[in-house]
């Protein structure tokens, strides 16, 4: 493998990069309403390049809707700023071209296309019409690297539809990587994975986040504790708390919200 383009060395840290002029995602007063129901209510949050931020909260807290709003899937009010550029109010594909990539709760890959084709499409939104009209002859260096990172070199020619569940999710992460976005929004990337796969994914997330703006929705608190550098807690559409894992766990408001809800033990330790 030549010099890595997708994953430079490094570790994420709370608060993100401390040198140079890091990129950032600045969300201000974001609100989404479905027929009068405020699914997201005045949410503000900042994620700096190099931080691995987790977005947690009980079911129905509006986590996925925040990502939907940032990516332009649902109309929203407020402001979302990507390193000086307002990205709210654009169409989905325009937002994507401004460097915002995401994955979905249920891994969604192109099942009738091969793994390689999936990655090639993800890597290619910048291609001109002439390149589109030609046959794919070489494999982009980034695609090759991504295949290696997600461990699917051997399955490059396989149809994505026959991959195992975990592999599909990895493929989706690979697509996100080659898309070369600055902002990565991952919606429950480890759902349905085995323990080993989770650990591997966590390690991968940390490598990814070292050089990018990363926001991950996750339910599994063990996973969050192990890999997050910072956490934002959402409840009933509002930001409830923000800080390190220890800080939010100590927050009385967070404990109240999670009281009685299973699966998330915010008060253990």
């Amino acid at each position: 493998m030549s010099t890595p383009i997708l994953l430079p060395d490094g570790e994420p840290r709370a608060g993100g990069l401390r040198h140079g002029r890091p990129k950032y995602l600045e969300v201000r007063n974001l609100s989404v309403s479905f027929d009068g129901f405020l699914a997201v209510d005045n949410v503000s949050l900042d994620v700096i390049q190099g931080d691995l931020r987790f977005l947690i909260g009980p079911n129905g807290a509006g986590k996925t809707t925040v990502i939907d709003a940032i990516t332009g899937l649902v109309p929203a009010t407020g402001s979302v700023n990507h390193t000086g550029t307002e990205i709210l109010g654009r169409k989905v594909h325009q937002t994507a071209r401004l460097g915002v990539g995401r994955t979905f709760q249920t891994a969604s890959v192109f099942e009738n296309l091969s793994v390689l084709q999936n990655l090639d499409i993800a890597a290619g939104s910048g291609r001109g019409p002439l390149r589109l009209l030609r046959r794919r002859k070489t494999v982009d260096a980034a695609v090759e690297e991504a295949l290696e990172i997600i461990g699917l070199e051997g399955a490059a020619a396989k149809k994505a539809g026959i991959l195992a569940h975990g592999q599909k999710q990895w493929l989706e992460i690979g697509m996100l990587l080659v898309q070369n976005s600055d902002i990565l929004l991952l919606d429950e990337p480890i759902a349905g994975m085995s323990q080993d796969e989770r650990l591997e994914t966590g390690e991968l997330l940390r490598r990814i986040a070292a050089s990018r703006i990363t926001l991950v929705i996750e339910h599994d608190m063990d996973f969050v504790r192990e890999f997050a550098t910072s956490v934002t807690v959402l409840a009933a559409g509002k930001v409830l708390s923000e800080g390190s894992v220890a800080q939010v766990q100590a927050d009385q408001k967070v404990q109240d919200v999670y009281l009685g809800s299973s699966g998330v033990e915010a008060t253990d330790a």
Partner: protein, 384 residues
């Protein structure tokens, strides 16, 4: 067949074989009448190539290809009427206009006196109509059934419009009685062979074009759009653009086919372009295998041959048969005949690794198929 068509050499060989059969063997073997008939079928096959791209690969169920076919056909017919009138009548006014109308050529006919304008218009007008409609429809994310119904309504409106304009389009009689084609006498058998050769060449060229598109990155993207249109947006592409491009290609192919149909068959009327003929274009495509390269062509020709054979002797039976074809093929074998080998193969549990990338036939969802594969065969649009 499949093995033959694999790889670049195989493609070249297959293409050459097709060219030899269509351009060499058929004219030598077939009597003039049958050759003209085959020429007509090849026109349908050209339309089918476009439908295979738009519907099979792109998931756009276009029920209005008759419109583009008709546009090309009427443009050519108008030119031929005007040319005939100048050549043989001297007055420059087509016969039917003096019969039904004021005997004055309407202004919008005039540009088609020019052969150059006509040839351009045959390509550009269907293309432009498809472009405007495609952008209007796809940009607003009107898709799936909505698109199918709109395209069908377009065909209905087009046919009604033609019927209503008796004095300028010949009404329900259409335009017929052509005597010359760009100065060539249509009665001359040599010229008839030439017309057939043109149709066969255009078909071969459109197959080459379709193959290039299917195998290009655009073709891969098109399948992605067909299966998961929303997902493609999040990768930074606008699916509307991709769909519109393919829709325009399909429309242009249909337009050219229509323009060839007129001199070959000698008549164009609203009965060739309305709702029913527009849907009828689809059955051949479905039988042959909608997502494959050759399937639509073979299917279209096969259906046309069957129709020619059956409909004159048993007209009533033919309609029942056609209806049954739709029910059985679409209902029970959505991948068409091209999916038969895959079906049989799966039954025998001999899952050979990857099927030919040249012809990824969409396997029919059979009851025994594993869940993952079943899902993989159903386009996203269809699932909602």
């Amino acid at each position: 067949m499949r093995g033959l068509l694999q790889g670049r050499m195989g493609t070249a060989a297959g293409f050459t074989l097709g060219a030899v059969l269509l351009l060499g063997v058929a004219p030598a073997v077939l009597p003039a009448f049958n050759l003209a008939l085959l020429g007509k079928f090849l026109c349908f096959a050209i339309v089918a190539v476009g439908i295979g791209l738009a519907w099979g690969r792109g998931g756009m169920l276009t029920l209005g290809q008759g419109v583009f076919f008709g546009l090309g056909a009427y443009i050519m017919a108008m030119h031929m009427k005007l040319a005939d009138a100048s050549l043989f009548g001297g007055s420059g006014v087509p016969d039917f206009m003096s019969l039904y109308g004021s005997g004055v050529v309407p202004g919008w006919w005039e540009p088609f006196r020019s052969p150059a304008v006509t040839l351009l218009a045959v390509v550009l007008i269907p293309g432009l109509v498809a472009l405007v409609l495609g952008l209007a429809v796809f940009k607003r994310r009107v898709k799936g059934a909505y698109f199918a119904i709109l395209s069908q309504a377009l065909a209905a409106a087009f046919a009604v419009f033609l019927v209503g304009q008796q004095a300028t389009t010949g009404g329900s009689n259409g335009l017929s009685g052509f005597r010359s084609f760009f100065g060539f006498d249509l009665k001359d058998p040599n010229n008839k062979v030439m017309l057939y050769m043109i149709a066969a060449t255009v078909l071969l060229l459109s197959l080459a074009l379709a193959r290039q598109l299917m195998h290009s990155r655009l073709g891969e993207l098109l399948v992605a759009v067909r299966d998961q249109e929303e997902r493609v947006r999040f990768l930074g592409y606008d699916p509307a653009t991709i769909k519109t491009v393919i829709y325009v290609v399909a429309a242009v192919l249909a337009g050219i086919a229509g323009a060839l149909f007129v001199p070959l068959v000698g008549i164009i009327s609203p009965a060739d372009v309305g709702v029913i003929p527009s849907i009828a274009f689809l059955i051949g495509v479905a039988i042959g295998g909608r997502a494959t390269l050759l399937g639509p062509v073979l299917g279209a020709v096969g259906v046309a041959v069957a129709q020619a054979g059956l409909s004159s002797t048993f007209p009533s039976f033919w309609v029942y048969f056609q209806g049954l074809l739709f029910v059985l093929v679409i209902g029970f074998m959505p991948g068409g005949l091209a999916s038969l080998p895959a079906l049989v193969g799966r039954r025998r549990r001999t899952r050979s690794a990857a099927s030919s990338p040249a012809a990824p036939a969409r396997p029919a969802p059979v009851a025994t198929s594993p869940d993952a594969e079943e899902k993989a065969t159903v386009p996203e649009e269809a699932r909602r």
